[in-house]
């Protein structure tokens, strides 16, 4: 697989795997890579697969599309190429991720060590506000069309009929900590837990009880896919990604 990495200066804004579907680039929010910047045409360019080759086509944009510094109309891309549109850069990279893993992911660390806490030095700090101001004005990328993970209650007594999974950890049970609150005398404190991992996917794991997914009791934590039915302690929950 190949992926496109959208950057503004040093900041990685988005990563996008390129599969069979073409990737449109432009200012309109319905583009796969939407960049809300006046320097970019509403439908600026597209990246698509053609017989195993990755192609870039500029739609006759006003300010042009550049690959490795050269203005292009239609060109084959290879890993390592750098596409420039306005002030943004899109890097073409190899990815070992398989198709089917979620395409959109927000702000993945660019380097393995990036999670280390760092301190901006004095000079950088002085420039910080200007930089943020610049980014704030010109790099207002339309919010990623992140799918919202949702649990819909199909059976059982809970405090809500539907839950949006916004936290990294979601506990299902009677505990004060639980997001999905089970009711009833014999409901366990923590029946199951769902965690969002760094891949932005959700995994269900056992807590006091062993939940079943689609009728199968789970051993190891199991990745959840849209439509999975979770059964735990008499409660049935459907896991969904909503737009």
């Amino acid at each position: 697989m190949r992926k496109l990495v959208l950057k503004f200066e040093d900041a990685v804004l988005k990563e996008l795997l390129v599969g069979q579907k073409e990737v449109s680039i432009g200012r309109s929010p319905d583009n796969a890579i939407a960049i809300d910047n006046p320097a970019i045409s509403h439908y600026h360019a597209r990246v698509f697969q053609e017989n195993d080759r990755l192609m870039l086509e500029d739609f006759g944009s006003l300010n042009g599309t550049f690959v490795n510094g050269q203005r292009v109309k239609m060109v084959a891309l290879k890993p390592g190429d750098s596409i420039a549109v306005g002030k943004h850069t899109i890097l073409v990279m190899e990815s070992n991720e398989v198709e089917g893993s979620p395409v959109w992911r927000a702000d993945r660390p660019a380097a393995p060590k990036i999670n280390e806490t760092v301190m901006l030095d004095t000079k950088e700090r002085r420039e910080f506000l200007q930089q943020v101001a610049a980014v704030g004005e010109s790099a207002q990328v339309a919010p990623a069309r992140l799918k919202v993970a949702t649990l819909v209650v199909r059976k059982g007594r809970t405090d809500q009929r539907e839950y949006t999974l916004s936290d990294k950890l979601t506990v299902v049970g009677k505990s004060a900590m639980a997001t999905v609150k089970l009711k009833g005398w014999f409901a366990p404190k923590a029946a199951a837990q769902i965690t969002r991992r760094d891949d932005n996917c959700y995994y269900i794991g056992a807590a006091d009880h062993v939940p079943s997914v689609n009728g199968q009791p789970i051993g190891q934590p199991r990745k959840l896919f849209s439509g999975d039915i979770i059964e735990v302690s008499g409660t049935e929950l459907e896991f969904l990604y909503r737009d």
């Binding site: 999670n115 506000l129 101001a133 900590m177």
Partner: protein, 272 residues
């Protein structure tokens, strides 16, 4: 009377624990520091921070004429100003060590400290380690992170969602040990019976939401249990960084019959 519990954990991803905390209940002081810097430097920095803050406050408790480092701020109590001075002293200690010793170059640390003195609680911090107050069941964040993301959010340059998803979470604008002087944020609260203070490193707050922290604090009456559960849940949520939590409860002095009733009340709540 103060009851406290603390827990520090490496988490599930890191190899070292660069967080450090110190509790000196005899002078009502609780300190937490999250170190940064390659190799073992982060651990050195956070240890220097905690030790220096405690030592400065201890010395001042025995000898009130101990000089203050930095300006005294008007309108704040002696104890609060002393806490500010202690963090500035710690800053110098780390700064000098980093410059003396090339192997520790660039090391730094956050610091957050609370001190209970009379009817006041002093809160001081620099960096992105936080202090929270749970009062009447509601959680309030007492400190504002000195981080790039938090500052961008405050200035309206990022939306809450952008801030939550930013990869620049780890970029600090203020920390101890980077420059000879550090600006310290100071504030005071009037102590109230039943207050629960939480000091924590970002390893906790990156894993759990405020609502989840509130639920855990409200649910565990014992500070040690609360600290343990906070760390445990943060690990379950991923444990991406070192996790440290100090929970301090300002307990009402037992008032005879009153405490019996509150016990009964608790039982009624459980049974109903």
């Amino acid at each position: 009377m103060i009851k406290f519990g603390a827990r520090s954990d490496t988490g599930r991803v890191r190899e070292n624990n660069e967080d450090r905390y110190g509790a000196t209940p005899e002078i009502g002081l609780f300190v937490l520091s999250d170190g940064m810097g390659g190799m073992a430097s982060g651990e050195v920095a956070s240890r220097l921070a905690v030790d220096a803050i405690i030592e400065h406050c201890r010395t001042a408790a025995a000898n009130s004429s101990l000089p203050f480092l930095g300006d005294r701020r008007e309108g704040l109590s002696e104890a609060t100003n002393r806490l500010g001075s202690a963090i500035r002293v710690a800053n110098r200690a780390i700064y000098h060590r980093a410059h003396e010793d090339s192997e520790h170059q660039g090391m730094g640390a956050t610091a957050v400290a609370v001190r209970f003195a009379g009817d006041r609680v002093s809160i001081a911090h620099a960096g992105d380690s936080r202090a929270y107050l749970l009062r009447g069941g509601k959680l309030e964040q007492l400190t504002s992170d000195h981080s790039f993301v938090a500052e961008s959010l405050r200035r309206g340059m990022m939306t809450a969602q952008e801030a939550a998803e930013s990869k620049l979470q780890n970029v600090l604008l203020r920390a101890l040990g980077i420059e000879p002087d550090v600006e310290v944020d100071l504030r005071e609260e009037i102590a109230s019976d039943g207050d629960v203070f939480l000091l924590c490193s970002d390893g906790l707050t990156r894993e759990l939401s405020d609502a989840q922290i509130t639920a855990i604090l409200n649910d565990s009456g014992d500070p040690r249990e609360a600290a343990g559960r906070l760390v445990e849940f943060a690990n379950q949520a991923g444990g991406g960084d070192n996790i440290t939590a100090i929970v301090i409860r300002n307990v009402a002095k037992p008032k005879g019959a009153f405490s019996v009733f509150s016990c009964l009340g608790r039982w009624f709540m459980i049974l109903s």
